[in-house]
Symmetry: C3
Subunit: 140 residues, 3 copies
């Protein structure tokens, strides 16, 4: 069994934004030499997500508006008790649960085994600082 580990770093200038990381993950698959296996991609921070969906700007705007409705940014400690700790990112912990922590992608014939529109995105909900994404590949 082969394994390959890589920690990617992002510093997203906005509080909330999405970054297409498919080509970076595909690079790691190539480097791993794995032909058949699994590729885990997960946010290492709890106010960020990794998700697979379309890389379409209108959809990304829709997601941001929708997440803001489901869990509005509010730095006060009234809406989010979490903000009593001195943080202002209670909303980000909720948005991350909707969009998910991780994806697991099959590797077949040495490539990400994807449908026609699947793209891997890093989703930042509390940006403007360095945060990491883990890529772990196992297989043969």
């Amino acid at each position: 069994m082969k394994s390959h580990t890589r920690h990617l770093t992002f510093n997203v200038p906005a509080r909330m934004d999405f970054v297409n990381i498919t080509s970076q993950v595909a690079d790691e698959v190539r480097k791993s030499g794995v032909r058949e296996g699994l590729c885990l991609v997960n946010a290492m921070h709890i106010t960020a997500s990794v998700f697979i969906n379309d890389d379409e700007p209108g959809l990304h705007k829709d997601y941001k508006r929708w997440l803001e409705q489901l869990a509005p940014f509010d730095p006060s400690p009234e809406r989010y008790q979490h903000n009593r700790t001195g943080e202002d990112n209670g909303d980000a912990h909720h948005k991350r649960q909707i969009m998910g922590r991780e994806v697991v992608v099959a590797i077949t014939n040495g490539k990400l085994d994807f449908g026609p529109w699947e793209q891997i995105h890093y989703a930042e909900f509390d940006g403007r600082r360095r945060k990491r994404v883990l890529v772990k590949i196992i297989g043969e």
Copy 2:
């Protein structure tokens, strides 16, 4: 390490519906010959989900009504900017994020290692056409 790959195809006649695919996945586990390992099952399309929950018709109706509340079908480009692309399925991209893209299931003693009510479902949110689900099994 063994690996086994299968792409299942579905053509769900409704816009939104759920299909129990547990027995098809279990068949692939048997064919794989894997006794101890992991089984990934994921939608290959971004307006569909794979989820594990009870196969109970009342619950499935509840899910559909709830998802419709959280992300209503609306082909207009006002609610979903995604629909400015000519698509009418903006809602489906949101429903899919709630229900998830994939499940990873343990294989123990050659079988899906399941609790008493776990059933794998394909969830279609933009049906009436052929779409695929990937089953990837690795282990020994």
Copy 3:
């Protein structure tokens, strides 16, 4: 390839509560002897979740209030058709979909490869009885 399987049992005294299970999962990683691999942790019941986020009491209260807004407890069969089966836990099946069934965590150098605040939680939405969580580890 090595594999290691463990079924953990929980009996949460409240209907809804979260339990930090990180140290129990880390114990299983140690016992597995796996240095490089993947660790799957999933609820085996369909009214419970496993999720990774901060172990901060204010945040946990926020999650509970938010989940109660998104899918209120209501034993009547009017809001949840699922409750026509004699169950009163329709809400729990919805809360579980928001928080997710499972997490997959990388194992690197024999340890859970975690960011600074990642903690694995068992989330109970229909407690006061014995329920199980599966830990499955594969790797080398």
